[in-house]
């Protein structure tokens, strides 16, 4: 009974999305306010019905309704309730429903938080969101209905959730990631609306900016969670494998980062509009591409959903309509007139443009590296694998270049920067970074060119960012007052850049100074990894909620002192007949010690993987700092509603074209 209601709710939501795609747009084009007024209620209704469907699916999981095929395939009565809950998005259909829930949620958020925007703009933006929703509602209803029943042969129990997914990572990672992916649809909708009504201006950039930043922050957290999850759960201590699915999430992140920066230029200086609007379209297109890659099975990945050509074709069609439609609109409507604004070759405009060149190059590099095997296969030129060695060699120089540019760009000014001043500013940060990098090299005891480049870049970014903060916070009323005076968006930038520095430091140090060993150990043995001595004391068995486990006990010593005990496990899940390696990790701010049990070699000997991972936590902490920066930036005063100023402006301007008030309100 309930599942049918869920399906009905989805169909109703589809109908509402069709109305949302058509009615407000018609109103905006014909100037009828009565039609535009439908936009917000329709957006709310769509969200409510999708939420209802989602709630019904959760209910089906919690009560073990195995007559629902999706529940039977992804859950089991032995599963603890919180994994039943997260199993809702453990497979293709449910995760797609979550995706759509997020999409309708963002649509609702636009409807709620855009009251100060001109109504034609809101109507158009919501209509574009509605169109995207139509596509995805059709997709889920036609190809991936999570409420399909297995009647009359209801299985006695479910096939269980993949043990890899029975983890807190699954509870948190997909929602965050999808919030990010889907969030870029808002920037996309703003871009399309602006192209439709031809008002691609600073106001448009200002409205798009906070939405882009929030989506980007969520995506940052989502990717970091995924990396952290893979690190401890996939079992082998890798935090980034350049797998197609990982790359698929990196693509919109990279172009989204470029978009945030070019939006800043467009908002502040009114230039590079055509470029910015293209980035907004491309970023969302890359989100969709990611969804396609994960769900179509065209590429082999550790993380992909089971593939289905029918779904792949449908998604590609959706992707094609969205991308071709918006790029056609772009080609015909984007402005080609050069805005007559002057900026010198050392201006902040140019620094940010260079930042975009590097970030977009990185985006294209990842895209090409990911899709190249597909192209070669199509051309019958053989099956190649493009993985870590390729990306590490080609991506690192771009990352370093971007970081070096960032450090210098922080001191640049809009319009024109004095070259001599810039050079003087950079002198001290340069000296400090060199000395600090040398100190780091000495500390880790070896020198490698790329380790030096990466660490130097990280420190360079951090020093330049803090130096600039110090400069800006100088105040006659004292340092504290000066710091307080800084706007939240400036603080957001500071944190964002410090986060980047942390991630770079973490990535460089752990890749260059991490130690990995596969050793054969019997209880009583000890082995060194880095400066740590690991003693294998015992092996035992225990019974878990839905698995049995063999666990090892290890003592970790540093300089003869016991640091901690670790208990990695090898778990056996009887329902799916699968074996899982659960590593145990002693986490620390400056290093992780990682122990995992491998195969049993003989009666009492085991293959044990030991790893020493310096600064690995900085990867995720840095991402968190970045995301916090993003959230802080959008809390800036100038984005808050200023109804009064706006009303005053309206009264003064009388019947000026809509689309201006927000500019005047700042």
């Amino acid at each position: 009974m309930y599942p049918e209601l869920g399906q009905l709710a989805l169909i109703l939501a589809l109908l509402l999305s069709v109305l949302l795609a058509v009615v407000p747009l018609a109103g905006a084009l014909t100037g009828r306010d009565s039609l535009q007024a439908f936009a917000r209620p329709l957006a709310s209704g769509m969200f409510v019905f999708t939420g209802l469907a989602f709630a019904i699916l959760i209910h089906a999981f919690l009560v073990d309704d195995f007559s629902v095929a999706y529940v039977a395939n992804n859950s089991n009565s032995m599963l603890p309730w919180y994994y039943k809950f997260s199993a809702v998005w453990g497979g293709h259909e449910g995760s797609l429903l979550l995706w759509i829930l997020m999409l309708t949620g963002w649509t609702l958020a636009v409807a709620i938080f855009s009251r100060r925007l001109p109504s034609t703009m809101v109507s158009q933006v919501l209509a574009v969101m509605g169109m995207v929703c139509v596509g995805f509602f059709l997709f889920i209803i036609v190809t991936s209905n999570p409420f399909d029943r297995m009647l009359p042969n209801v299985p006695a129990d479910g096939q269980d959730l993949n043990p890899l997914l029975q983890d807190i990572g699954l509870i948190m990672h997909p929602p965050m990631l999808y919030m990010g992916y889907v969030g870029f649809s808002v920037a996309f909708a703003f871009a399309i609306a602006a192209l439709i009504n031809g008002r691609l201006d600073a106001a448009w950039a200002r409205w798009s900016r906070p939405w882009t930043t929030v989506a980007w922050s969520f995506l940052t957290i989502g990717i970091a969670l995924g990396s952290w999850w893979a690190y401890y759960e996939l079992g082998w201590g890798g935090w980034w494998f350049w797998d197609p699915v990982e790359n698929a999430s990196l693509l919109p992140w990279l172009s989204g980062t470029a978009l945030m920066h070019s939006l800043a230029v467009t908002e502040k200086r009114g230039v590079f509009k055509s470029w910015t609007v293209l980035l907004a379209i491309v970023t969302f297109a890359l989100s969709l591409l990611g969804t396609f890659l994960v769900r179509s099975g065209v590429l082999t990945s550790v993380h992909a959903f089971a593939s289905d050509p029918e779904r792949g074709s449908f998604l590609l069609m959706l992707l094609g309509i969205t991308v071709v439609g918006s790029l056609l609109l772009y080609a015909f409507r984007a402005p080609v007139v050069h805005v007559r604004s002057r900026y010198g070759s050392l201006s902040r405009e140019i620094f940010l443009l260079l930042n975009n060149v590097l970030l977009v190059s990185a985006t294209l590099l990842v895209a090409i590296g990911t899709l190249y095997p597909l192209v070669l296969d199509y051309l019958d030129a053989g099956k190649l694998s493009i993985g870590e060695p390729f990306f590490n060699t080609t991506f690192s120089p771009l990352a370093v270049a971007t970081g070096l540019l960032l450090g210098a760009g922080i001191f640049s000014r809009w319009k024109k920067t004095d070259g001599g001043m810039l050079a003087r500013k950079l002198l001290w940060p340069l000296a400090i970074s060199l000395v600090a990098t040398a100190a780091v090299m000495v500390n880790y005891g070896s020198f490698a060119p790329w380790a030096f480049a990466g660490v130097f870049t990280a420190i360079w970014i951090a020093v330049a960012t803090l130096w600039d903060l110090w400069d800006k916070s100088a105040s006659r009323q004292g340092r504290l007052h000066g710091l307080k005076r800084q706007s939240r968006s400036y603080w957001g930038m500071v944190l964002g850049h410090l986060g980047v520095a942390m991630v770079m430091a973490g990535a460089t140090v752990v890749s260059n100074y991490g130690v990995e060993r596969d050793v054969r150990m019997t209880p009583g043995d000890s082995a060194m990894v880095g400066d740590y001595e690991i003693v294998f004391t015992d092996i035992g068995e225990r019974q878990g909620a839905n698995f049995t486990a063999q666990y090892g006990s290890f003592n970790v010593f540093l300089d003869g002192k016991l640091v901690t005990d670790l208990h990695p496990e090898k778990r056996n899940y009887p329902v799916g007949m699968s074996v899982m390696t659960e590593a145990d990790i002693d986490a620390g701010l400056f290093r992780d010690v990682f122990v995992a049990i491998g195969e049993r070699i003989s009666d009492d000997a085991w293959a044990i993987r030991l790893q020493y991972k310096p600064l690995v936590r900085w990867l995720w902490l840095g991402s968190l700092v970045m995301a916090i920066g993003g959230f802080l930036a959008i809390a800036d005063k100038r984005y808050r509603i200023r109804v009064k100023a706006e009303e005053k402006q309206k009264a003064q301007a009388g019947n000026t074209a809509p689309g201006k008030p927000a500019e005047a309100s700042s």
Binding site: V302, F390, S489, E663
Partner: protein, 159 residues
Amino acid sequence: MRFYPLLLAMLFVVSPLRAEVMEVYDFDTRAEEQRYQNLIAELRCPKCQNQNIADSNAPISKDMRDEVYLMMQQGASNDEIVGALVDRFGEFVQYKPPVDKRTIFLWAFPAIAVIGGLLIVAGVVMRSRKQGQQETALSPEEKARVEQMLADKDQPSER
């Protein structure tokens, strides 16, 4: 925790006698061990969903690791080892695509993209300079708009 001192004492007594444990594969030097780790990280398991043979538990990965180790012991170079596996399983098993006419575009791409981008930026700067010299007159409407945009730049501390 009560056993802690006892344990330490035991360790103290025992540790000089205990040699460093055996590797799953035994190497003469740490450098060789590192070389082995790098090799198995760059080879792809042909049976798995995109895993290298270091991380994969598949039997075929075990066979491939054995072969890598065996060839290393026989003094083979990295290229020879990878070559031997490619001969058996195809180019698919190497994560680092060979540089040849099919992949030259791939390998050269970052340089192409960055140089292309820099040229575009150079073009943008040149044009902006030229326009600066000409100082073309703005229509009143355009002027008002530009003015308004510039007025946006209110707080000095902002990006």
